[in-house]
């Protein structure tokens, strides 16, 4: 039992990373119906920016907590700008064309980010610095161990989720985002600046991916230009699992996927991990095609 709970805790921290990336997928899909395959690579870029700024700030002698916060915010800001740029130059010209053309463009952008990364940074993995000193706690005097890193991940995720909920629920941009995702044409007629809203969506999604990138780097201590591919795909699976277009869905999907994966690994089938993730996806799709939290959209005749 304790072992199970231990794995559950590990799963939640992996799942939080998936959930943060999945939010970007789900928001972009919800608003322009595009599977943004480049999202996993924005996550990679965010991770590298976090790495550089953390190194720079540590050398400058800042206290660790401040290093973490500043590099997190810096990485999120730069990635948000990157997200807006990608949208502006690659996706916006395609807004009126077929979805498959937009999808191919997304794949193109993904390759571009990956291999520019390889060209500039080299293909080999780089070590990510330990920003915070890692400590282990025993939970409630039992044998269940919690790492300080896991607490940090959960904390960052919760803070960002609350922030996101606030933005989407109560700000003008958030209202505009919901309106545009509900009906783009009607929103335009109501005087909402659709282009700006889409840019904002990309910015927020990319910032969340960057945050995931930084905490991913802190957890696994290794980053490389192709690291975005698998987590990106998994996060996408998580988004679909929860019901793509739904923000709570992305959270639940990410946590669910992370937990399932860790449990599978802990049973000694770690090489089957990715396969199980996809199998879960397909089962959900077959029995509940719109995901756990998705709305069932009736087809119009």
């Amino acid at each position: 039992m304790e072992y199970f709970i231990q794995q559950l805790i590990n799963g939640i921290s992996v799942g939080s990373i998936y959930a943060l990336i999945a939010l970007g997928y789900t928001m972009v899909y919800g608003i322009i119906k595009l599977i943004n395959f480049a999202h996993g690579d924005v996550f990679m870029v965010g991770s590298f920016i976090g790495l550089f700024s953390a190194n720079f700030l540590s050398d400058a002698g800042l206290p660790p907590v401040l290093v973490l916060i500043v590099s997190l915010v810096f990485s999120m800001t730069v990635s948000a700008l990157l997200g807006i740029t990608i949208e502006r130059f690659a996706y916006k010209p395609l807004r009126k064309s077929t979805r498959i053309a937009a999808l191919i463009t997304a794949i193109g952008v993904s390759f571009l980010l990956e291999y520019t990364g390889v060209l500039v940074l080299g293909p080999q993995a780089q070590g990510f610095p330990d920003i915070l000193v890692k400590k282990q706690f025993n939970l409630f005097g039992t044998d269940i161990q919690v790492e300080s890193n896991q607490v940090m991940i959960l904390l960052v995720t919760i803070i960002l989720m609350i922030l996101l909920q606030y933005i989407v629920r109560y700000t003008k941009t958030g209202k505009a985002m919901r309106a545009v995702s509900f009906d783009m044409e009607a929103a335009r007629l109501m005087g909402i600046n659709v282009d700006r809203t889409i840019s904002a969506t990309f910015a927020i999604g990319s910032a969340l991916a960057a945050a995931a990138g930084v905490i991913f780097g802190m957890t696994y201590n290794s980053v490389d230009p192709l690291m975005g591919v698998m987590p990106g795909l998994k996060a996408f699976v998580a988004a679909v699992l929860g019901g793509i277009g739904s923000i709570p869905g992305a959270l639940v999907g990410g946590l669910l996927l992370g937990t399932v994966e860790t449990e599978i690994s802990s049973l000694g089938y770690s090489s089957w991990r990715d396969g199980v993730a996809f199998a879960v996806l397909i089962l959900i799709l077959i029995f509940k095609p719109s995901g756990l939290f998705g709305k069932n959209v009736r087809e119009k005749v």
Binding site: P93, I100, I104, Y115, S271, G275, I282
Partner: protein, 321 residues
């Protein structure tokens, strides 16, 4: 009908002449090994693109798991020739048939999904097949199979490719092909007209898988080694890119796309650091400036050179060989 027949035989004759010329150039040694293997690769890629076009372009089912079928064919035929000494051509066909069986098995449940959900499900299936191969010791696990006899020659690949194109093109032009196009245009209307949409989707999926499997077998016998990693979702994307760059829904487009991507890949090999960057920029620019692909959705016909701008969407009266 007469016109189609004439065009068909013209196409066959032209392609046979093309075959002869390349064969002579290979036997006389004017083509070096790199060029020769490029021609083999073009053949494999044309088979993959034409078969995926049947699913994605003609039937309108968004599938991105083609590499999975390719790997089933590749592994099956490689094991048959390596361990059981099955004749080469028979092994390739057997690989295709097993891939087709997988096509039925995967198609039945997933084809109820549509659009992006189908895309994700097929992507997932492709990855599951890869992971199964990765974890099966019998097929070599992560290191894959090696020492596969390089039996694929230009003659073999040419005739397999030609047969693929002719069969798929004939299927598209048949009643069944029309039914598939109807499903692409409007599934609900097709259903209302009495078309068994599930049946036709599964048929298209299975035929696509059959030829993808054979292409996989041929590619396994071109290079000595196959690993699960060579059939990951990036490979599926590559095939999708060929189809879309050439022009979704057109067999000629799929051929042009496959040739274009293979040439691009081969000639960019001299600039390894820049290869993928140039490739991705080409992709993005192509989609922005010519989202319909090189040939749009029009079929290839000699008539079009006379009549400018005679674009008919979904025209498949092509003799694209």
């Amino acid at each position: 009908m007469k016109n189609i027949n004439k065009k068909f035989w013209l196409g066959v004759i032209v392609s046979l002449i093309f075959y002869g010329v390349v064969q002579v150039l290979i036997t006389t040694g004017i083509f070096n090994d790199v060029t020769r293997s490029m021609f083999l690769l073009i053949g494999v890629n044309v088979m993959l693109a034409v078969s995926l076009n049947l699913i994605n372009g003609i039937t309108g089912q968004f599938s991105i798991g083609h590499a999975g079928f390719m790997s089933v064919g590749a592994y099956t035929s490689a094991i048959l020739t390596l361990d059981y000494n099955v004749p080469f051509v028979l092994a390739i066909v057997a690989g295709g048939v097993l891939a087709a069986v997988f096509g039925v098995l995967i198609g039945m449940p997933t084809l109820r999904l549509n659009g992006d959900y189908l895309a994700i499900a097929t992507l997932g299936f492709g990855e599951i097949i890869r992971i199964i191969m990765l974890n099966t010791e019998y097929v070599g696990g992560a290191s894959g199979l090696s020492g596969i006899p390089a039996k694929t020659t230009w003659t073999v690949i040419f005739f397999f490719t030609l047969i693929t194109i002719v069969l798929i093109n004939n299927f598209i032009r048949s009643t069944h092909g029309r039914a598939c196009i109807a499903i692409r245009e409007n599934e609900i209307a097709a259903e209302a007209m009495g078309i068994n949409t599930t049946l036709y989707k599964v048929i298209a999926f299975t035929i696509g898988a059959l030829f993808a499997g054979m292409a996989g077998g041929l590619s396994a016998h071109t290079f000595y080694v196959i690993t699960p990693g060579s059939f990951n979702f990036l490979k599926s994307f590559e095939i999708l890119v060929m189809v879309v760059l050439g022009g979704l829904g057109s067999t000629a487009g799929a051929i042009v796309g496959a040739v274009f991507v293979t040439l691009l890949y081969t000639y960019l090999r001299d600039f390894p650091e820049w290869r993928m960057i140039i490739y991705s920029i080409v992709l993005i620019l192509m989609m922005i400036f010519r989202p319909g692909g090189l040939l749009g959705s029009t079929g290839f016909s000699l008539k079009k050179f006379g009549k400018k701008g005679a674009k008919v969407s979904g025209d498949v009266n092509s003799s694209a060989s």
